[in-house]
Amino acid sequence: MTPDDADYTFAYLDEATKRMIRRAVLKAVAIPGYQTPFASREMPMPYGWGTGGVQLTAACLTPDDVLKVIDQGADDTTNAVSIRAFFAKVAGVATTESTREATIIQTRHRIPETPLTEDQIMVFQVPIPEPLRFLEPRETETRRMHALADYGLMQVRLYEDVARHGAVTLAYAYPVRVAGRYVMDPSPIPRFDNPKLDRSPALMLFGAGREQRIYALPPWTRVESLDFEDHPFEASKPDRPCALCGAEDSYLDEVIVDDAGGRMFVCSDTDHCANRRAAGAQASAP
């Protein structure tokens, strides 16, 4: 760090703010899936850029951590690069693009393909933490519904999808039930990633800055995607291999490549794709 940067307290936030966030995190961990209110601060970036995740990361970081930040699976997009640079400056921590090397992974909308370990903490950026919000706009009512574990409205919403379309059409932010109790929004990860939440060895923390909520999944917690006996949950992805590394089992982004409607499907997890190609994997000829 340069002398100017040293004028920041470690990890940017003042100590009183960090204590407040840390107390909320511990309550969130003790009540898996429950949205714990916290006094979200203004950060030097706009809402929607991951201010909730940034505050969680700031509260959890120690100088020994190695931080990875991904945006839609990619390490090299504006949001990810900016947040990584921010913490390199204000906390002096090491950063990485490798999932294996990271101790804290802040993410927007993906869980890495590489399996997580017990030594890692996932920090999710969350826009709308309340899974019932689009069904019931009043906070007083959704709070009561969580208190009573009254999730009939959500089951009806999913049922209406099945009745109209023959399947639940939610592609992302697919609601889950945590440890048999709270229904939780897993943040806008694709439903493909939902199974990775179940009994994960890593601690998972969720932060919504604008909505001022923190929630958590302790390691090994049972996380079920809501479904019906005759319409079980299915993780879905584009039905083709990655056009770069040939992976059949990773989540793909659709990329427009020219003005003539040409498109290709490539791994959304850039670290996973690069590692596979470095190890000699390639797409089979079309």
Binding site: E15, M20, A24, L26, A30, I31, A147, A179, P219
Partner: protein, 188 residues
């Protein structure tokens, strides 16, 4: 030493960060024992409990000191280093003491159905802390974990009230473990 001015963190931001990570890992993985350092509170407060106070307690969180911990030296130390109002169990966000002195647990705030997070956290000073004794299952535990607890029944009753209930940080010397309300507790 009753002025209580010494014994705080030398580098508050970094030492509080390390202590919080230890408490977070302990709370997220019931049965796990972590080591913390940096605090030197007056007796009978353990260094681990002192570090937890410095990391989590401040003027926004009323603190209850129970039994032997409610002595002049520790009161002065806690006041100077945390600024927390010292209160009775009914108003406390945090409480510190030995198990026998902390009870009965019903005296503490348990949270409400709409706000289960508005409950107290108890810091329980124990003579020894070992991964043996009570059987723990639930979130944070892969199959089954074990932890030495001062008793079983009170913790089992607390877990039965989930999502309401108290959360516990157990301390011994420079080591700590935690027991969130989500952990199911049975005799080992």
């Amino acid at each position: 030493m009753t002025h209580g001015l010494t014994g705080g963190f030398a580098a508050p931001a970094v030492e509080a960060a390390a202590t919080f990570r230890a408490v977070l890992q302990a709370m997220a993985r019931p049965g796990r024992i972590e080591r913390v350092r940096g605090a030197a509170p007056p007796p009978p407060c353990s260094p681990a409990a002192g570090a937890v106070l410095l990391t989590l307690v401040d003027a926004d969180t009323p603190l209850h000191l129970a039994g032997r911990h409610d002595g002049e030296a520790l009161r002065a130390w806690a006041r100077f280093h945390t600024g927390a109002p010292l209160v009775g169990p009914g108003e406390a966000a945090f409480a510190l003491g030995e198990w026998a002195a902390l009870g009965p647990l019903d005296a503490y705030r348990q949270g409400t159905p709409e706000h289960p997070d508005r409950s107290a956290t108890l810091i329980v000073e124990t003579a020894r802390l070992a991964p043996a004794g009570a059987r723990l299952t639930g979130p944070g535990v892969r199959d089954v974990a074990a932890l030495s607890l001062p008793e079983i029944a009170a913790f089992a009753r607390n877990a039965a009230r989930f999502p309401l209930g108290l959360d516990f940080i157990l301390t011994a010397g420079d080591r700590l473990a935690a027991l969130p309300r989500s952990a199911r507790v049975e005799a080992g």
